[in-house]
Symmetry: C2
């Protein structure tokens, strides 16, 4: 297991564009984030050091389930009749069932070290909320989770996990925050939204001295914490006498994919034969259809503006089953790498990714999360290309989470009830009208 | 990973009593099982060889998730302030989420090798049904699962897993079998029972040439296949420079516990310091309250009579959440070892085992199946004993499955709605009146 995180910042082809103050549109410094994040995480957010030590206590907690296994997918290869070698990095073995706790335990640790007693966050389907609840339980912190109300009632079991790990979970919008009350006033029956839940969690943290806020993706320090994944992959491939030619991951905010591929960026920049494939849904085609420009991180325009590919902060995601892939933007680091041609984006429809995960379940056995099925589909397509060209590539996919709490989506697929959807360009252009030009 | 299974039969303190014909009460030979099991499994059932080769193809399939990790539970030890070392063998990492596929893939393999096209079985909450569906999918066999009707509707997600792996799942009682029709005639709204589902699956197999029947616990060959667990534990402890003093497991039919401890039996018989702790629920106290005598394996008295601890084949299990621990009998091998004093049984109430699994989730992170929580409680109590005595014992628990499909049970526990129940002696005596004396 690695004892340092890899920070790609100094190795990027050009520096990241600075975040901008949402009101003045001027670049902001790290101090602007101090009300909601602990100082050590803010330092990591802007660090130019290549390697950052993982504290012993964090290593101990990660050690509960790390290193995660890297499996060779022999049965899938055989079924595809491909000369390619396919590996999958199994992040689903963590107690909350995904890669998310890699950053949750680190964030909880730094919060605790700076005297924070309680961490507030939002969650949609519950992947991130359960990971943060787990981390807070390990460290004896309180977790307050604002869970989008429709998910709170429709997806009860990740809420059960949060309760097992001692978190307080509210169906958002609540009457506990100004923002929540405003939404309820307009619509007492509001099903909630991720944008509203973010605003509630940020407001809760900003208005209470003992509390801070925590985000599960997008930010630089989150991607940093996820690099344990790629560092382990490198080491494990070396032990297997192999070397990656393609790294594939699904992208919602970008943290699991970035965690897997960032440690390989220096190799690519040195000219090694390695590609990075970022897979997203056609229904939320941020990297494949969105422009590269400054936008807000949230609907309420409370967050700083960040330079990224975006569908517009007013983007209303269609109800697809890969709930973790419905964000309008993406991590600025990942967007820069796409813009520089280092990372290749690709979009798929949900029926074809479910077909891919059914093939994975029939061969390798495991039933993956709908988000992860995008990475599985990407890896299968790369392996089929190798079958045509005869190339013996080494393909690594980040198996970011299991589908044990998403079986209703598989039921829908098996019943032929899943619809494909291409998010139309005119709706993207419409949403972008509200994005300030800076 | 082991390449041979360990067969305890020749090492038992005395030979197993033979199974008896359910009508004549005379000992039956292996040929009596031929209509429903393939010959190679029948041979294993009666084998006196100490080691039986695991076929390459079975090793390859087990290799999809084996060897499973053996973790040292440092955080739990620290929380308990015990001088004991606690290890848990994580069988929950298999695709269906439990130890069950260890035998499912072996059984499916031998069935296929003898030309069987379809395997019939029963399932309660779905652990076994999903494991067999998974195994059949890997081998290209059809699986027909009779799932107890009330579970079919109340626990839909293990059914979803079976569908993902291509099985046909019927809510039992069905109108497809004589037995099912008879039950439906008496009560068209029957919620079903495991006894009825077994009878339906056996009838289906016995009346179709291309089909055989498969059982997930109790029988000698099932326990044999599970010994990969204990063999791996031995090897892994050796690598860690340690040696087991206590092996703990939960017991429903006995296969996960037996799989973990049987390979240690020769060591114990040679005088080594090792105990075997079999944990069951107070609501189904087979080993702790039942007499040791011949009884049928099923309600309909279709199976051979087996010598075992039993609550009577007419035992009606109370509705507890550990659905896998509700069988009236136990594996004859395990019962013999209890009767000989080699294995120590212990019973717990469901509220105390949930408390134990909450502590496990708070320290080691993982959320276990209600069945597994019995083993967790047993290990914790042994570790607390060491705290009193100062003994530095090495305690190994078989973490037989995860609780991802049992979170409603945790919700009930958190809401204070779980009731404890001691199955009363007079009801046991009543049920035993119907058991023939042989």
């Amino acid at each position: 297991m690695p004892d340092k995180w890899y920070n790609v910042a100094p190795d990027l082809p050009r520096p990241l564009d600075p975040p901008l103050n949402p009101e003045t549109k001027e670049p902001i410094g790290p101090e602007a984030l101090a009300p909601i994040f602990p100082m050590e995480l803010i330092k990591q957010e802007v660090s130019q050091e290549n390697w950052i030590e993982i504290p012993d206590e964090v290593q101990r907690m990660l050690g509960l389930w790390r290193p995660t296994p890297l499996h060779r997918a022999f049965s899938l290869e055989k079924e595809l009749k491909t000369p390619a070698r396919i590996y999958y990095k199994n992040e689903s073995v963590s107690p909350p069932g995904s890669h998310k706790p890699n950053t949750a335990v680190a964030q909880a640790y730094y919060n605790k070290a700076e005297g924070v007693r309680r961490i507030c966050t939002e969650t949609g389907a519950g992947q991130w909320g359960s990971a943060l609840s787990f981390a807070c339980k390990l460290l004896g912190l309180e977790a307050t989770v604002y869970m989008v109300k429709c998910s709170y009632y429709q997806k009860p079991f990740r809420k059960s996990l949060m309760h097992i790990w001692g978190a307080t979970v509210y169906p958002s919008p609540t009457d506990l925050t100004q923002c929540g009350r405003a939404v309820l006033e307009m619509d007492p029956e509001s099903p909630g939204s991720l944008g509203c839940a973010i605003s509630e969690a940020v407001e809760d943290a900003a208005t209470h001295d003992d509390a801070k806020y925590s985000l599960g993706s997008v930010l630089n320090h989150v991607l940093l914490h996820q690099t344990v994944v790629g560092l382990e992959i490198k080491e494990q491939l070396k032990m297997a006498g192999d070397k990656a030619n393609v790294v594939v991951g699904c992208v919602g905010g970008g943290s699991n994919f970035a965690g897997a591929m960032l440690p390989f960026v220096p190799d690519k920049l040195k000219g090694e034969d390695i590609e990075f494939l970022a897979v997203e849904p056609c229904s939320c085609p941020t990297l494949t259809k969105g422009p590269y420009r400054y936008d807000f991180g949230d609907l309420a325009k409370m967050t700083p503006l960040m330079k990224m590919y975006t569908l517009g902060h007013g983007f209303i995601p269609p109800a697809i089953h890969a709930g973790g892939l419905r964000y309008h933007g993406d991590a600025p680091i990942l967007c820069l790498l796409v813009n520089e041609g280092v990372v290749t984006p690709r979009a798929y429809h949900q029926s074809e990714v479910f077909e891919a995960s059914m093939l994975f379940a029939a061969t390798e056995g495991l039933v993956c999360a709908p988000e992860t099925s995008h990475a599985v589909k990407g890896a299968i397509d790369e392996a089929l290309k190798c079958k045509e060209t005869g190339e013996e590539k080494c393909i690594v996919l980040n198996y970011s989470g299991h589908g044990h709490f998403d079986l209703a989506a598989y039921d829908a697929w098996l019943a032929g009830e899943l619809e494909d959807y291409d998010y139309p360009m005119d709706k993207i252009e419409e949403a972008l009208k509200d994005v300030p030009v800076v």
